[in-house]
């Protein structure tokens, strides 16, 4: 990292999250959902986290806002270590970091009016009169391109896209600095998806937001992110500026992932598709060395023995690979 860069808003050092699985103590095994991730997230950037199901991207996102306990490593927010902070200590920090979920319906209480749902953050964090609160709620609704009178309705009266707007409004209520959005558009139809992406872009500029954008859809991540981290089996295998990741990926997994995306274009077909063999190995029994070596075209014996670490290959571009592609 160059010293001209600002201080990171969020910093993780060797952050890991393990889950025990199995019922009895004897059968208990450990899933390493997130393994030793060291990551700096800078103010104003949008970090896209991509990877396939089970790679740990959602778990990482939840760790970043302390929605789940961290097994080991450290998490800092604005230089403050919050790895072990209690709920009470976290409270003033919570308003700085918010989350948007994939399924807005599941994160909105169906029995409460949208106005009440949106007023909750103010009730918890600010002392406002009822009329001030309603003003703020209406302001929020308008900002996410809904109507003030929608405050009187219940979540089920909205379409999927509108519900996601409500979820975004709620995350926005306290003017957070960081929003972690976990697959915010993947449940939506394409035409609605584009509306929500445009909205998130506008909000970023208007409120100076820092986003962590977790998604499996590479084209959406490319559109929305300034920097990208690619995850595979709990670790970041490659991270760098969005253009470098998409036009000159160095990790063989990133290359395969990118080439697997079906492109809606019949003339500019991407080059030779790299077909990954087989399935993701079981996270209960991860491969030795590089986790990707079982499916990698470039794997050699060193890959089976030694775990590669993220190392710099280009400006701000890091790859964890013994034999990175020429790019």
């Amino acid at each position: 990292m160059t010293e001209t860069r600002p201080k990171p808003l969020v910093r993780t050092s060797d952050l890991s999250k393990h889950y025990p699985v199995g019922r009895s103590l004897l059968q208990r095994r450990i899933v390493h959902a997130v393994e030793q991730i060291s990551l700096d997230i800078f103010p104003g950037e949008t970090l896209g986290i991509v990877g396939e199901s089970g790679c740990g991207k959602s778990t990482l996102g939840r760790c970043l806002v302390r929605l789940t306990e961290i097994t080991s490593g450290a998490l800092e927010f604005e230089g403050l270590d919050i790895t072990k902070a209690s709920q009470r200590q976290l409270r003033p920090i919570r308003r700085q970091m918010q989350m948007v979920f994939q399924d807005p319906a599941a994160s909105l209480n169906p029995r409460r009016r949208v106005g009440d749902l949106l007023a909750d953050p103010f009730r918890v964090h600010e002392k406002l009169s009822r009329s001030e609160m309603m003003d703020r709620v209406e302001e929020l609704l308008v900002r996410v391109e809904l109507l003030p009178e929608h405050a009187q309705r219940f979540p089920h009266e909205f379409s999927g896209g509108q519900r996601q707007r409500i979820g975004i409004a709620r995350a926005l209520a306290l003017r957070p600095r960081l929003i972690v959005a976990d697959e915010p558009v993947s449940a939506l139809d394409v035409s609605i998806q584009a509306q929500i992406i445009n909205l998130l872009c506008d909000l970023r500029d208007e409120f100076n937001l820092t986003y962590v954008f977790i998604a499996h859809d590479l084209s959406v991540v490319r559109q929305f992110s300034s920097r990208v981290a690619v995850m595979y089996m709990g670790s970041i295998v490659e991270t760098g500026p969005v253009d470098a990741i998409f036009s000159a990926p160095r990790h063989h997994y990133t290359i395969a992932l990118r080439s697997a995306v079906p492109v809606p274009d019949v003339d500019n077909r991407p080059g030779q598709r790299i077909m990954l063999k087989g399935d993701l190995p079981s996270p209960l029994d991860p491969p030795s060395g590089c986790r990707f070596h079982t499916r990698c075209v470039a794997a050699t014996s060193v890959c089976r023995q030694e775990r590669p670490v993220l190392s710099l290959v280009d400006k701000n571009h890091f790859v964890a690979c013994h034999h990175p592609s020429a790019g």
Binding site: V190, S191, Q195, N198, C201, Q223, V261, P262, D267, D279
Partner: protein, 339 residues
């Protein structure tokens, strides 16, 4: 008379549901035909009627409140109104179907092999041993690793991609002339999706099957289809060869769809074109063109219902003049119109 008649001819297919709020049209006047060995992509968003169209073709709409009219002819034989027994001789044998969630077609209590064997023996008089041999060969053909042992596995022992392969193997077991696939890769990761799409492309070459592939993903269509139908609010709004439709889409809805997808290469647009608003509720269809309320180019004529028209097998249901449509499309893409 040419010998290769179309495999499937669908004419004026309508599906509507009687509800407390009145008659709700899910599919309105869908017509298309499918040649032997052709792969047809059907694209649309939720509620566009694409899945209901497939279910109607398969005779799988069993709701007593559903009304299905029109005509579905498979190899010249009318399928609508056919008795259950007669349908069963065709379904699974000549027409097979796969769904988004492979577990809708698999029972968790039997092995993959038993389920394929049962399928084969339901349609053909062969011994268990022969059927088992065929099952192993099929699993091998769809790319399941070590098929001899996979045949004795239960569905829960396989990953999502492997289950979908097993279902495809089951669908292929009787060498169907037509495979109908409803969002077969939507639940899968992108690297697995690539494997399944490659497999579907191979079906035509190795098994000679025609395929109707329903998807919301234009990228998937570009990958495998020969011809494409675009559906919106229960109707076909555009139909064309893949090249025609992707190079010069004619319908403003198709323009919006293309504009909504972030590109994977080249410059990134500052904003996606998107389509304002949301699709109409089927119970509250707008008068005339259903896309009208969301269309930038809506004009006087649009209060009537447009019908599919156009030349060279590329047709669209839109009142805009045929000439100059690509110019309009470019103004939309250039962001001249607020979204």
């Amino acid at each position: 008379m040419p010998t290769d008649k179309p495999l499937l001819v669908v004419e004026n297919l309508c599906v509507s549901f009687l509800t407390e709020g009145g008659v709700v049209p899910a599919v309105s006047g869908v017509s298309f035909s499918l040649e032997q060995r052709e792969i047809l992509g059907v694209v649309g968003e939720s509620g566009s009627g694409k899945s209901q169209t497939l279910l109607a073709i398969m005779g799988l709409i069993s709701s007593p409140n559903a009304v299905v009219t029109g005509s579905v002819r498979f190899l010249g034989r009318e399928l609508l109104g056919l008795k259950r027994r007669a349908l069963d001789a065709i379904r699974g044998r000549q027409i097979a179907m796969i769904f988004q969630d492979p577990m809708t077609a698999l029972t968790p209590v039997h092995t993959i092999g038993d389920q394929i064997i049962e399928q084969i023996r339901a349609h053909e008089r062969v011994s268990r041993a022969i059927a088992r041999k065929r099952a192993v060969d099929l699993l091998d053909a769809v790319g399941l690793p070590s098929p001899e042992s996979a045949v004795d596995r239960y569905p829960h022992q396989l990953s999502g991609g492997m289950r979908q392969r097993a279902v495809i193997a089951m669908a292929l077991s009787c060498n169907p002339a037509l495979l109908i696939a409803d969002e077969p890769t939507t639940a899968l990761d992108v690297t697995v999706q690539a494997q399944i799409l490659e497999l579907i492309g191979r079906l035509r070459d190795e098994f000679g099957s025609a395929v109707i592939l329903v998807t919301h993903d234009l990228g998937v269509v570009a990958e495998v289809a020969d011809r494409v139908l675009v559906m919106y609010a229960g109707r076909v709004v555009e139909e064309g060869g893949k090249g025609q439709l992707f190079r010069e889409p004619l319908h403003p809805y198709a323009w919006g769809l293309f504009g909504s997808i972030p590109p994977m290469h080249g410059p990134r647009p500052a904003r996606l074109t998107a389509i304002p608003g949301s699709p109409p509720k089927l119970s509250q269809m707008p008068q005339g063109c259903a896309f009208g309320p969301r269309c930038t180019f809506r004009h006087q004529a649009c209060i009537a219902q447009p019908s599919l028209g156009g030349a060279g097998g590329h047709r669209s249901a839109c009142f805009l003049p045929q000439d100059g449509r690509q110019d309009l499309r470019r103004t939309l893409a250039a962001g001249a119109v607020p979204a």
